[in-house]
Symmetry: C2
């Protein structure tokens, strides 16, 4: 048995604009990778045919025998049904709906395929091989244009009853807060995602407040990043906007800690990563203020994600190894993956 | 094997003022029960000795052979360590701290013993044999003098990393809300537990509002129940107070549904049960308003608990059967509990 070559997972991360693929070993290392524009113009069977082609080219280029591949892991920005066999629809993915990607992948690759939504896959990747390395209870919080999360409980993605768990961005934390895209008022996303930061800056400028943001926004579009740049120059208005941001994110994170008691909350997404230097130290204090005294935050780390835009890809690998470990992939049980 | 007598779990629920014990079969039926005042004055070993005595009397009275008892399930109002072997301290339990109840019970009963905190045990009981019958994803929300919860994920209690998960009462839902006992502001508990309802009624009276609550409160102490009675008489002030209550509970429940996607949220506790006729129908609408459109509430029932004050006792039984099912109780594996 020791003479068997190391097995690999063929992993895919389908984003809104780009697709990542990689061959990943049982320790989470990406042995070969490729990225190409998302195949928005193709129907699902043609997308899968393109993946087969890209993977074979990748394996050939890396001189990896395709026989080593044990399964396909597929992370998608689209919505999945609760059995995770169909992709209902994907952002920017053209006109199809309810495409049976699990079956399409299994037929085309002649391998078992496992599907997961991108935030969940990224959480698995970070919990397994990134910031959370080995965490059994882990929250991956994505703060960008929206706010999403993937939750890991006892080492597995928390899907809930119908697969919709983890929508922390749409928990209410300010009952009379602004209208959110989801139709509710005062959701965390409406208060603390990137557009809310930019909106506070625009409001300050409209009120005639003197701020560096005004000049900085002349050169490029006003965004959360503009506010970060002004705050780094000690601009008072920008700093006040970030104080507000930290208060809201602190509540969101404290709520998830209070409810789930994770070992770690790792932050990802453009806003959290781009503003980490400004946000992270005060955020830890804000979370402390919002947690009951019995919660020992020495046991719950609040940190940045580590895998960057490969978190979902690596999480897709974890999906495959988790199933093999369970013994559900009969042909490959000889690999005895830890 | 079919000639083996049905196995039983010896179950205990230690409350602040009373103790319940029962012999429970693998289908969750309580074959014999007893209740007696909590033994606050006794040290832990004497409490356990008293339990042995009470159980033997119970088994004798019910003509049950003690050999049928497969394990001990112990639900407590006290705090447990993360391994659930020690009870740190229990409300109204005298001067002891960090008592090794698991070891004490196993020595005294010569049986495996399993400990759980009362809200978690009650959630297991309700998910298993009460309102949630068979639910794998279940939230038991207790609204009384405080607000607590027990969360079941994939059929098991969600403990989190150090055992403190489930404190929904201390999630923030109104950043500038009232000071809570926990030191935070605007926790669900500070806004929607019984004392918050009574406090709103007192404030209305102090403001000189004309309300039936004033007369009703002359006969007995002003409590949430007083407000319920006035609301049933169509008192305007009382109805407005309950509207507020429903708004806050709606946010708390919507947040937990958004984050965890349970199959059911069952309400227990004095306030929820006492005011169920007034609270429950509008509460479902309030939750709907606070949930994103993608959440199909036809798949998440919001209902009342069914087991009343035996939920924790029956959940303690579930603890025992769950361990036997896992095969961790070697001597009793022949029972093959479903």
């Amino acid at each position: 048995m020791s003479s068997l070559p190391e097995p690999l997972a063929a992993c895919v991360d389908i984003g809104g604009t780009k697709t990542l693929i990689g061959l990943i070993n049982p320790e989470g290392r990406v042995l070969a990778r490729d990225r190409f524009p998302a195949a928005n113009h193709l129907a699902p069977p043609e997308q899968v045919a393109q993946l087969v082609e890209k993977f074979h080219a990748l394996a050939n280029g890396a001189e990896v025998a395709w026989e080593r591949v044990a399964g396909v892991g597929y992370s998608t920005a689209g919505f999945l049904n609760s059995e995770r066999t169909l992709v209902f629809a994907s952002p920017n993915q053209g006109n199809w709906r309810d495409a049976p990607f699990k079956a399409l992948l299994e037929e085309a690759f002649h391998l078992p395929a496992y599907l997961e939504m991108d935030a969940n896959a990224a959480a698995l990747g970070e919990a397994w091989f990134g910031a959370g390395r080995g965490s059994q209870h882990f929250v991956y919080l994505i703060v960008g244009t929206g706010i999403g999360s993937g939750i890991v409980v006892n080492g597995e993605v928390l899907h809930g009853w119908r697969g919709t768990a983890g929508e922390i961005g749409h928990t209410t934390i300010e009952p009379d807060g602004p209208l959110c895209n989801c139709g509710n008022y005062g959701c965390l996303e409406s208060l603390a995602a990137g557009p809310a930061i930019a909106q506070r800056a625009r409001a300050a400028i409209q009120q005639g407040r003197k701020t560096l943001i005004t000049e900085l926004a002349e050169a490029s579009e006003l965004s959360a990043e503009t506010v970060f740049r002004a705050a780094r120059l000690q601009d008072e208005v920008a700093c006040a906007i970030l104080d507000k941001e930290i208060d809201y994110l602190g509540i969101g994170i404290a709520n998830v800690i209070t409810l789930l008691n994770p070992q770690m909350v790792a932050l990802g997404g453009g806003v959290a990563v781009g503003g980490a230097d400004l946000l992270l130290p005060p955020l830890r204090r804000a979370v402390r203020r919002r947690c009951g005294a019995w919660i020992d935050l020495e046991h719950t780390e609040i940190t940045l994600s580590r895998l960057g835009d490969e978190a979902g890809l690596i999480g897709a690998g974890r999906l495959v190894w988790q199933e093999i470990q369970r013994g559900t992939v009969a042909n490959f049980s000889q690999y005895n993956v830890k």
